[in-house]
Amino acid sequence: MPKIIEAKGFTFYYSGSTKPALSDVDLSIDEGEIVIIAGPSGCGKSTLLRSVNGLIPHMYSGTYQGEVYVNNLKVSEHTISEIAKHVGYVFQNPENQIFMFSVERDIAFGLENLGLPRDEIRERVDWAINLLGIREISLRAPHEISDGQKQRVAIAGVLAMKPRLLILDEPTSLLDPLSALDLINTVNRLHDTLNLTVIIVEHRLDLLVSIADRLVVMEDGRIICNDKPRNVLNDEKLLTIGVGVPSVVRLQHLLKDICSFKTLSLTPSEFVEQINEALG
């Protein structure tokens, strides 16, 4: 499977800091994976993302060792705009990203900056609008739409650039629970349809773990777990470092000494199925 991200021994110190924000990070992500990055505040999640989209080392000054590659491009040797063709980045607060007078114009903005021909811009904007199901709001102003819709517009604007990798920074934190669930289902569908690689940074794992291929946990600038979500969540030490382990998983840890489960269930439905199977 081709690699879309490869970090090799990457260490980064922000200017003036004596403590590394990232410490000897090795991470390799295959094309088409959905990866969650979790960890307590200040563990280095944002720094890692900045190292992938080129803001580090090009915008944030500091010193680094090792290298990060995106689609085989050495991030340190390519400009942010070159890297941006491969990496679509959706900020936590879509308001930081949406600023044009209409949804449609906003989605076109990035494409206009790429200098694409008019017809292609029109075609791609249409494609992204259909993909995210936002046709009915396409002529509205960003301040007239809901937060869940704003999040979709931000994703549409990023996907119109046809990146291979979509990065979402805490995409559900400002959404009501149903909108959060809708967004996660949409991301999963986009992944399936476009064979998109998706990296999601999240504190809360309850809605996400069942769609992810991998869960990477960071602490103090290092990667401390990197495996399938089921295997990572099986490790009780996660409970002590500040990762939002779903209640149903925490319950299984509580019951572990009393009743052994064949595998760790990630959702209430899986858990009840397992109980029924084992105990009838």
């Binding site: 307590p40 629970p177 149903l178 809360r204 149903v248 509580l254 009393i258």
Partner: protein, 271 residues
């Protein structure tokens, strides 16, 4: 303590943000205000310290009509921590940020010093005392806002989306602070989408939709009611979903993982 009587709030654009809302919040209560984005939750909260005045109806805070009071006087008793920390922080250092409210409310130098020191330590901000608030991370900024408000010891604490950007350890700390405030008979009002955070505390739950209050009941009677949940774009917390899949009655629904553990031990005679 806080009383809304037939309150409507209509924006200049004509949008009705609150529609004939009548609700009361009493001493020592823990109340969650939930509902979809744009349901009117933040507008409701902004009436509690007079930042917004009703277009129609009356809001009374400790018996005083908010239209007759200054925001400063009301804020002394009702402290609000807003969702976006950047809207609340403006001092040059973290220490001065906490001092600001205390000085404005006329506390003596000794008390200011003592409370600033307490707040810095309690919220793990001591090392940033002389740092600009703008240099803090999102999670730290939110903790600073909470520290600054708690320092002046209001009777009612209103927290708008307090768990956004907070990791589990800070959420646990927040829960401890809330429980501590309740033991001191403070009123705590939480506006939050984070149902997994709210559920184990079993707050009285006020559900808003399109500017109206559509339910005002204990959490156990809101989060098990699929009709109310759908109207407010909420979903079952995991423990409620688990209880339903185990076919438990609404009275038996697990509030915490410890209740769930006890149930399994009894049901399957595990020991």
């Amino acid at each position: 303590m806080i009383e809304f009587i037939n309150v409507s709030y209509i924006h200049q654009t004509g949008v009705v943000a609150l529609n004939e809302v009548t609700v009361q919040f009493g001493k020592g209560e823990l109340v969650a205000i939930v509902g979809a984005n744009g349901a009117g939750k933040t507008t409701l909260v902004k009436h509690m310290n007079g930042l917004l005045k009703p277009t129609k109806g009356t809001v009374k805070v400790f018996g005083y009509d908010t239209t007759q009071q200054t925001v400063a006087a009301l804020s002394r008793r009702v402290g609000i921590v807003f969702q976006n920390a950047d809207h609340q922080l403006f001092s040059d250092t973290v220490e001065h940020e906490i001092e600001f409210g205390l000085r404005n409310f006329g506390f003596s130098d000794d008390v200011v010093k003592q409370r600033v020191d307490w707040a810095l330590r309690f919220f793990g901000l001591k090392e940033y005392a002389n740092t600009s608030p703008m240099m803090l991370s999102g999670g730290e900024k939110k903790r600073l806002c909470l520290a600054a408000v708690l320092a002046w010891d209001p009777d009612v604490l209103v927290l708008d989306e307090p768990t956004v950007g907070q990791d589990l350890l800070h959420k646990e700390k927040l829960e401890q602070i809330i429980r501590l405030l309740l033991t001191q008979e403070k009123t705590v009002i939480l506006v939050s989408h984070d149902i997994e955070f709210l559920w184990p505390m079993q707050p009285r739950t006020v559900v808003m939709s399109k500017g109206k209050i559509i339910a005002d009941r204990p959490a156990s009677k809101v989060f098990t009611d699929d009709y109310v949940l759908a109207s407010a774009r909420l979903i079952n917390p995991q423990l409620v979903e688990l209880s339903k899949r185990l076919k438990l009655s609404n009275e038996e629904v697990f509030d915490t993982i410890f209740t769930a553990k006890r149930w399994f031990l009894t049901k399957y005679r595990w020991s």
